[in-house]
């Protein structure tokens, strides 16, 4: 039945047939389509403001994309297993704040405090979702509220110790070395490589896909699903805690709504990157491109010099269009 479309259709239908072929190509090479989209965005910026796209600009984009990319790594891992984590923004904020209030003694200890938040919330999420089979959405919503509330109470107890961001965290979140390589790339790149390789070549990675694809089949083949999910949610929260440290290094001020703005992008980057929210399909490569696209989009909106609310509306609208296009293309 692979008759060429133009031979059976009248001349006028040649254009739609061509469009169908392009859609078919995009469908086959979605990763390439994403990269093309990223390049189109960058091209759009260069056309709108010639001379913007320079090595420094590119290094800035990577600098700003890193925390989102790290958050998206965790979100990818839980979505591949058919879940979602809505507590990542609260965890990132709490991690940054706790680190900043413990930074007076030792920098290394302070970082451990931050990561401990991730470990604790991840553990609670994991126990609820993996062992007690609570829906991930409700569970992470609840733990997000708990984390945020606890942080508010904690911050009022800690009025005496002003949060202070240590110099090496500032360097991590805003510094560059070797003629423009952002320092946070040295955190993001190893995480990215570990996640990319881990998903493809380790038993744990394959199990995430398997659990997300068909939970019952996994159960019947003897997979201890609860162990997989528990590890999954702990990893996600740890990544969120690490991302919080990068964010606070960039802003140099730990406040209560530090990472709130990252919740939507962390989900959107993964969805645009082609990971199915129902699990079993996708990968971290797409999420990386998704995070870069969203960061470039942000930069484009900043260039437009529009008021903040307008930017927010446009940002959301573009995400909806991209997510729709992607879902329509791959379904």
């Amino acid at each position: 039945m692979n008759m060429p479309a133009h031979s059976i259709s009248p001349r006028g239908a040649a254009a739609p047939a061509k469009a169908l072929r392009i859609i078919g190509l995009l469908r086959r090479y979605t990763a390439a389509a994403l990269v093309l989209l990223l390049l189109a965005f960058v091209g759009g910026i260069e056309i709108a403001r010639p001379g913007t796209v320079t090595p420094i600009w590119i290094s800035n984009i990577i600098l700003f994309a890193a925390p989102l990319g790290i958050l998206a790594a965790g979100q990818t891992l839980v979505m591949l297993a058919g879940g979602i984590d809505l507590s990542v923004a609260s965890v990132a904020t709490a991690s940054a704040y706790l680190m900043a209030t413990h930074s007076s003694s030792s920098g290394f200890g302070a970082v451990l405090w931050g990561l401990a938040v991730g470990l604790a919330v991840g553990l609670v999420n994991g126990i609820g979702i993996a062992v007690l089979r609570v829906q991930p959405l409700v569970m992470t919503l609840g733990t997000g509220l708990m984390t945020e509330g606890t942080l508010i109470v904690y911050s009022q107890k800690m009025l005496a110790t002003a949060p202070r961001v240590p110099a090496f965290i500032q360097a991590l979140g805003s510094g560059k070395v070797l003629g423009g390589i952002p320092i946070d790339l040295f955190l993001w790149a190893p995480i990215a490589i570990a996640v990319l390789i881990g998903l493809r070549h380790t038993g744990f990675g394959r199990l995430l896909y398997a659990v997300g694809d068909n939970r019952e089949a996994c159960q019947l083949s003897g997979v201890r699903i609860w162990q997989v999910l528990l590890a999954d949610y702990i990893l996600c929260s740890l990544f969120a805690a690490a991302a919080g440290l990068v964010v606070v290094g960039g802003t140099n001020a730990a406040d209560m709504s530090l990472a709130d703005v990252y919740l939507l992008p962390s989900v959107a980057a993964v969805v645009i990157g082609g990971t199915s929210i129902f699990g079993g399909r996708g990968g971290y490569g797409g999420s990386i491109v998704g995070a870069l696209i969203l960061t470039v989009l942000n930069s484009l909106l900043t260039l437009l010099d529009a008021p903040e609310p307008i930017k927010q509306i446009l940002y959301g609208a573009v995400i909806l269009v991209l997510a729709t296009a992607y879902t329509r293309l791959t379904d």
Partner: protein, 305 residues
Amino acid sequence: MPALLVLALAVTVAIHPEFGSFDAQSLAMGAMPLAFAAAAQTVVVISGGIDLSVGSMMAVSNVLAAVSMEDASFGQSLALAAAIVLAGALAGAINGLIVVFSRVPDVVVTLTTGFIWGGVALLLLEKPGGGAPEQFLALGAGTLFTPWLSGALVLLAAAVAIIWIPVQQSRLGLLLYAVGSDRASALRSGVNVGLTRFLAYVLGGLFSAVGGIGLIMTTGIGSPLAGVYYTLSGLAAAVLGGVSLAGGRGGIVGPVLAAYVLTLIPTDLIFLNIDPNFGQVIQGTLIVLVVMVGGLATLLRGRKR
């Protein structure tokens, strides 16, 4: 849920024996917007969806009211309120259309539209402000007949009855539950699944808009940033009120009562001289505990079999 509310009320009276009509009224006022947020979420969740834009739609209708009613008369305000409720239904319709036609998962769609509505609210009103005629505010902030019967309570009961009871009694109510409990079976039985889900979001938008107007009645001003709180707490109230996120199960009374319980928590903490900021911690813990106990119960039942 009624038992939990009675318990929460009893605890409140026990630790604060002079609980009087004033406290009853402030409870009714404080809980009213949250109850509407819970109702909005409940309708959508029953149909098997989720709406993370409820709070932002409330914020939009709230600031619309605050901006347009500031210099309006009482009569004009009533007309404006009706128009804003319709606008809310329209916002819900947009959510519904995108969810049904884009096939993007509802969580992602409403998370994003919530972000967009949040921008719209900020665009209309940059910082808390605006207002409405006293007489209009009194509909929610005043009392009827006795100081115990607050306008907020009457308004809530009336709005829920006017919107929900006809829906629940009609074919649409049945379809909402059918689509929510098993979409595939509903489709095979000839139900127009897309239309039903769309209408659930319209109802959600409607309730959100009423909630936004309720919010201006109880606070007197427009708050463009109210969104996040009402989305999360509304969903919390729905879950605590016995609505299953899997869809198809639960009613609207449970979530509304849960909204009162959630509002009582910080009040009780103040009476107990505990930092009211613990309220959010307790709220989160309560959700987590309720769903975990639910999960544990299912798990144990599974073991016995």
